[in-house]
């Protein structure tokens, strides 16, 4: 056994890596190296114009940021990945609650509120076409909260 701080290069590296206080540092170093590669390849990246769920905003609509066309309680054209899997695609997007309808008819500047009250493109994506994402994500919140609450309630042991 050699004393601390000496030994071959290999055993010195081993000692550094085996201290878990450096874990985050080692990982950060890895990310930095990969990101530098990313910066170097940046000129070869290009933005794909044929995006799904692209944004097309009608500035004149009273539902300004969330108007994706269509009439309430009827379908709207939404550029989904697999439209055939969602038979009611577009209905949620076009849906308006009576309250929302009232706001839309009377004002110009309450767009977000109106459409977000269930209905609108984000709800279409989050609840319908990509609902599984939301399942997972609310489960994550659930689990994280369970951990925090467990530790908190256990308190000092």
């Amino acid at each position: 056994m050699k004393p601390e701080g000496q030994g071959s290069l290999i055993s010195r590296i081993s000692r550094e890596l085996s201290n878990y206080d450096y874990l985050a540092a080692v990982y950060a170093l890895l990310v930095i190296v990969v990101t530098i590669v990313g910066v170097l390849t940046l000129p070869f990246l290009s933005y794909e114009d044929g995006q799904i769920y692209g944004k097309h905003i009608d500035r004149q609509s009273p539902l300004d940021p969330y108007d994706r066309g269509g009439t309430p309680f009827n379908a709207t054209i939404v550029h989904a990945q697999y439209p055939e899997n969602s038979p009611t695609l577009g209905y949620v997007t076009a849906y308006l609650t009576p309250l929302s309808q009232f706001f839309a008819d009377t004002t110009q500047h309450l767009g977000t509120t109106i459409v977000a009250h269930p209905g609108g493109i984000i709800d279409e994506i989050l609840y319908n076409t990509r609902g599984l994402d939301t399942v997972v994500e609310s489960s994550i919140l659930f689990v994280a909260f369970a951990i925090a609450a467990y530790l908190f309630r256990r308190g000092a042991v």
């Binding site: 206080d21 985050a24 540092a25 950060a28 170093l29 990310v31 930095i32 990101t35 530098i36 910066v39 940046l42 000129p43 990246l45 290009s46 933005y47 114009d49 995006q51 799904i52 769920y53 692209g54 944004k55 969602s86 038979p87 009611t88 209905y91 949620v92 849906y95 977000t112 509120t113 977000a116 009250h117 269930p118 493109i121 984000i122 709800d123 989050l126 609840y127 319908n128 609902g131 599984l132 994402d133 939301t134 399942v135 994500e137 609310s138 489960s139 994550i140 919140l141 659930f142 994280a144 909260f145 951990i147 925090a148 609450a149 530790l151 908190f152 309630r153 256990r154 308190g155 000092a156």
Partner: protein, 200 residues
Amino acid sequence: MTGPLYIAGLAVAFAGILVAFYAIMRESDDFHRILLTDLAEILALVLIALVATDLAEALILPGLVVGISELMAVSEVYLVKEGLFRPQYPPLSIEVMDTAPAILTLALVAYGIVLSGFTGGAVAGVGAVFYMMCRGHDERFAVIEAASGYAWALWIAAFFIFMVAPQYWLFAVMTAGGALLLKVAGKMSLVGTMRGGSNE
């Protein structure tokens, strides 16, 4: 338009990642590390936001929730690990803490309910957290937790309505919006109750 802007944005984001991770690499204090991970979280969201479609917007919400969840869990582990169970100082009140909470909370919760879903839950949650922070909490922990658990189950049910019986989409969207609001707001407001000593 979006194309060149995207690459420019990506360049700034990458530069930010380099700086932030360099700082993480050099940091040895555990709480400073937590603060820096919060910064990293923002950079992750920038990368998603740059996609600039409706989908990107929808993806930011899960990203955000993952971030706050991990922050909650890890900071609690930190407190336990360091053996910090009581606040260092006695509770303290500023004048605004007596007057502001009711109005602010009312406004935020009402607005949150109108928004519904995640966003509504988060906004209403801020109101609730603020209220509990200022006014102290009573022993409603279990009740809120149970309510939020039922809301979660309700949301899962709504998801399956969408997948199995899409013709009831209206019912599903109302259930989903309401349940998520309740669930997120509930969980977030519980954070507010976790301020005092351990809740035996």
